[in-house]
Every structure is written in C-alpha cells, then in structure tokens.
C-alpha cells in the first residue's frame, strides 16, 4: 500500500491569515505537526511510500519531513495544479501509484484513528472506494487494475475538517481531553493526559492540572496555573501568577504576569478568541510578546558597549584594593586561583576562565569578598568581548548532566549572573528561570542596575554573615 496526501492551498489559507508565522502543514495539534499525524496514520495502514502533493509551496514541510526515514518510510513531494481533479492527480503520479493499492487522503482534514487498531489488514481487504469523507476531504482506496468502486459502510476512521480557527481549537481540545491515548503525542508522558517535552522548568509553586501538553524549552514561573486543558507549545514562557485554561499557547510566545488566558489561543503577541475568530495584537510587551530565538542586531551592540564601559569603571574602582589585598591573601593561602573551561556564547566553542575562590575567614578576605575582588580577573574578559558583564552563570563544559546551553535560548556567559542579582541560589533550576527571564526582557541600562544589585548582594552577604 502507498499513500498520496493531497492538500490544496485554498484549504489551509485560513491558517496563513489567522496564525501568522506558522507553516500550515506543520500546524501543531497538541504539539505535534499536522502532517505527522497523517504520516503516522499512513504507516499504520501499511504504507512504506508516501507522496505529498500540493498546489502550494512545499518547502517548509519538506524541510521538516525530509526523506521520511525518521518514520521508516520513503517520502516524496510533487506539485499539482489547483484545477486538477482526482483522475489527473492519479495520472500525474502514475509511476508512483502503479502496481499497488493506493490510499488517497484528500484535504486539510484530521484523520481520527487509534494507534492500537490494525488498519493494514483492514484496508488491504477492503474493496476500492471511499473509506471516509467529510465536507472538506476524503480517504479513498484504489488500485490501478480494478475499476469497481464501492462505498464502504463501516467506517474505521473519522474525518474532521480543519477549516477555521474554531474547528482547529475544538479539535485540539477534543484530542487533549478525550483521545490523547489514541495517538502518539510528543513529550514524556509519565502519567496519562500529561505530555511534557524537553528542558521544561516548572516552578515549585506553579500548578499543573491535567490534561496538558507542554512542548520543549518552556518556563513556567512561580504561582502559575496551567490547565486543565492547556496546550503549551515550544519556547514559551508563562510568567508569574498567570492562568492558562482551555487554551492553546503556540510556539515562541511570552505570556506576562498575572494574566488569565481562558478559552483562547495565543500566538506570539496575538490573542485569539476561537469563537468568531476575534483576534487582537498586543502592543504591550508585558502582556503578550513573541520570543525571538536569539538576540541579535543593534540591541546586542548597545549591550556590548554598555557592558564594556561598566566593566572598565569597575576595574578602575577595584584595581587598587585588588593590588593591596590579594598579595596578602595569596600569601595566607586564602586566594585560590584555578581555571575552568566553560561554553562560550555560541554554545559551540569553549573559553577558559580564571576561577577564584576566597577562603572566607578573617576580615581581609571578608573585604575581598564584599568587594567581589574574586571577579576582577574575569572582568577583563568583558573588555575583550569574550564575556558579558551580567547574564548567565557560565556553564562548565564538563557538566554533562546539566542541560546544554544550546537548549537555553539567549545564553550569555557572564561575570555576574541575573540570579545573583535577584539573590537566587546560583545553579538551581529557579536560577535558570530568572536568568532566562532577563535574557529575554532586560535592556542594557537595566543590566547596569542589576550588576550593582549583585555587587550589593555580595556586600550584604558578608556583612550579615
């Protein structure tokens, strides 16, 4: 059995207008791209070869599915014309269809099936003809040699049109609530109705109410309530005390503090009400914002300048106490200097950094610590542009157990960390949230303030200790 998937541009035009920035054929349904459900079903029906046909662009879906080897199938792609009927489509793909029973899934439709069923024998034994159909699509079987068509009365699968924001929303919610066990959904489902992806940090005080599906690289901050019935995409931040119920938050979206997202869809800075498809694009970055994968451009240049200048000022301030105090501490053996290898900002290369620890006994070392003299050697790296002044605590290259920085968007190794500024214990998972938050939200001027805050925190630490 082979499968032909024919999806016409006009059937998914609504996605392009309502959900900007999304590739229609990769529209996530409970965090799994639409096309992958079709591929799964084709595999379940015994197909080893799948061809995707469209009168619209196929580039994005082709980049995602590649040659299909991920699913153990051979995928190919071809173009049809808007006016082509079934017969013409068949003629255009005759070489592909020859000598085999072919299943044609036509339309931008969701095929409801159950992974526990065996569709292979069922479909092979069925006569040619329509297996299932709905207003916007159908599944048909045919073989080149046979010509007797029959309609099959018993319907082993269901078809649901995905023709509007509302039908998309309803379908996603229906699957999440009632049918998630019928499909292979992405993420680690340690318990039923809860699918959670990689690199997801959930604050201790946040509450997750099943059923939920959460993508990769997601931060859920303190006091938030996720669910019931929430689909959270990848690269999403839900800020403090916000509630997401009966809603879909699509990829690359930031949801601000103390918000109530109920019965809605959020896509970057756009909030959509599925009924009647009302949508509003927020202009407040602290309500809803899109998240960029990496910070680039002029903001970064400004940041580099600000960081460098501040580092120079700090070096000038600290250099005299450093010259006076460190030699004494070194003689006393309280100044322990070594080097450690950390990931650089590209996450691919590594940098070697001086690593100083001060044994905290006696007034002199307390002063040295309060003044952050141990950070002075690394400050020079900021001037050299290798480090940021404030950002993430550098992740040591050996620490294989931690999530690699490649999975932490906006990772900037720095002398001081945002977590320190906010007085969070460095290295914990909560610290990761704080650093992540500022990596996306801070501006260069705020950075100076936060640097001062972390200096004061360290000062305060020693005086109260």
């Amino acid at each position: 059995m082979k499968t032909l998937l024919t999806i016409r541009e006009n059937s998914y035009a609504w996605v392009t207008s309502a959900l900007q920035g999304l590739a229609p054929l990769l529209l996530p349904i409970c965090n799994k791209p639409f096309v992958e459900f079709l591929v799964d079903f084709a595999v379940l029906a015994g197909s080893r070869e799948i061809r995707l046909l469209s009168d619209g662009p196929l580039q994005e879906v082709e980049q995602y599915c590649e040659d299909g080897s991920r699913w153990g199938v051979q995928m190919s792609y071809a173009h049809i014309k808007e006016s082509d009927d079934h017969q013409t489509i068949f003629e255009k793909n005759r070489r592909f269809c020859n000598d085999s029973k072919v299943m044609v899934i036509d339309g931008f439709v969701f095929v409801g099936y159950d992974k526990k069923n065996d569709y292979r024998d069922l479909f092979n034994s069925m006569p040619d003809g329509t297996v299932a159909s709905c207003t916007t699509g159908s599944i048909r079987l045919f073989t080149v040699s046979e010509s007797n068509m029959a309609n099959n009365d018993e319907t082993p699968v269901s078809l649901t049109p995905i023709d509007s924001v509302e039908s998309y929303y309803d379908l996603s919610m229906h699957i999440l609530r009632h049918e998630s066990s019928r499909y292979v959904l992405p993420g680690y489902g340690s318990e039923p109705d809860s699918y959670v992806g990689r690199n997801v940090t959930i604050s201790k005080s946040a509450e997750i109410i099943k059923p939920v599906s959460i993508g990769n690289n997601v931060q859920i901050l303190a006091g938030s309530v996720i669910g019931p019935d929430a689909v959270i995409g990848s690269n999403v931040i839900i800020d403090r005390k916000s509630r997401i119920t009966e809603s879909i938050v699509l990829d690359n979206t930031y949801i601000g503090e103390e918000l109530d997202v109920e019965h809605k869809m959020a896509n970057r800075n756009t909030l959509i009400s599925p009924q009647g498809a009302v949508s509003i694009a927020m202009e407040d970055p602290h309500l809803l914002t899109g998240i960029k994968d990496t910070a680039r451009g002029i903001g970064n240049l400004l940041r580099t300048i600000v960081h460098t200048l501040t580092a120079i000022v700090l070096i000038l301030l600290l250099v005299i106490p450093f010259i006076l105090i460190t030699p004494i501490l070194a003689v006393q053996g309280k100044w322990k200097s070594s080097r450690k290898t950390c990931y650089d900002h590209t996450c691919k290369g590594v940098i070697s950094l001086p690593d100083v620890s001060i044994e905290r006994s006696g007034p002199l070392s307390a002063i040295a610590f309060a003044l952050s003299l141990d950070r002075l050697p690394t400050l020079f790296r900021v001037v050299g542009g290798k480090l940021s002044l404030i950002g993430n605590a550098p992740i040591a290259a050996e620490e294989k157990n931690l999530s690699p920085p490649a999975a932490t968007p906006g990772y900037r190794p720095a002398v001081f960390s945002y977590a320190e500024a906010e007085n969070w214990p460095v290295g914990g998972s909560d610290a990761a949230i704080v650093e992540r938050f500022y990596a996306i939200h801070s501006n260069p001027l705020q950075d100076i303030g936060l640097t001062m805050k972390s200096l004061i925190n360290r000062f305060h630490d020693t005086t109260t200790a």
Binding site: E258, L259, D260, V261, E262, K264, L271, S273, G276, V278, S279, I280, M282, E283, D284, H286, L287
Partner: protein, 117 residues
C-alpha cells in the same frame, strides 16, 4: 473624551464616550479629566462602542477612574465593549472589577434598579 450628564432615568449619571485608541499616549488625559468629572456626579457610564484598542496603560487609567468613583460611593460601569477590547479586559482580569452592559440604556437603567451584572 467629553462628559455629558444624563438625567433621563431620574438620576444624574455622567456619560463619557471613549473613542479610538486608549493607550500610553492618551490615557493620561483621561486620568486628568476624571477628577473634574467627579465634581459633577459620582456615577458614570463609559460608552466604549467606539473604543477600538486598549493597552495596559489605558486599562490602568479606566481602573484608576473606577477606584476614584468607588471612593466617593459611586460606580463606573461600561457599555458596548468591542470584542477585541473585551479580550484585554478578560486577559488582565479587569473584567471582574466592572459591571459591563451591552448598551448604554441598559447601563443607565442599572443605576436605578440597583441591579448589577
């Protein structure tokens, strides 16, 4: 943003029509005018039928007006929220603070019957 006084229901109610966008550029004007309006009456209806966009500072201004009215034992009720604007009220939970009516008459009548939505 101008106020007219409506006495058709027997009570003096300040009705203001909020038009266009209410955002950081003009929410200050509303906050400036409201104390003057409060000298004329304590009960208000904001007719939002022509309000097409609101952001958090606009929302902050309306909530500020409500607080001032409540302090004087009055109320500020909203009428004719556009669906988009309504979504922002829902999202920020501001919807829970206000009595919201479908049209201006309903909002005006509500002050007499004592009925609140």
């Amino acid at each position: 943003m101008t106020l007219h006084l409506d006495t058709s229901t027997g009570k003096t109610i300040g009705v203001a029509r909020i038009e266009g966008r209410l955002d950081a550029t003009n929410s200050g004007i509303l906050l400036q005018k409201f104390p003057e309006w409060l000298e004329q009456t304590n009960d208000f209806v904001f007719d939002c039928s022509a309000l097409s966009f609101i952001d958090s500072s606009g929302l902050g201004a309306i909530v500020g007006c409500l607080r001032k009215a409540l302090e004087k034992n009055g109320d500020l009720r909203l009428a004719c929220l556009d669906p988009k604007v309504s979504m922002v009220f829902e999202l920020t939970k501001a919807k829970q603070l206000f009595s919201i009516y479908h049209d201006c008459h309903e909002a005006l009548d509500s002050f007499n019957t004592g009925k609140q939505q």
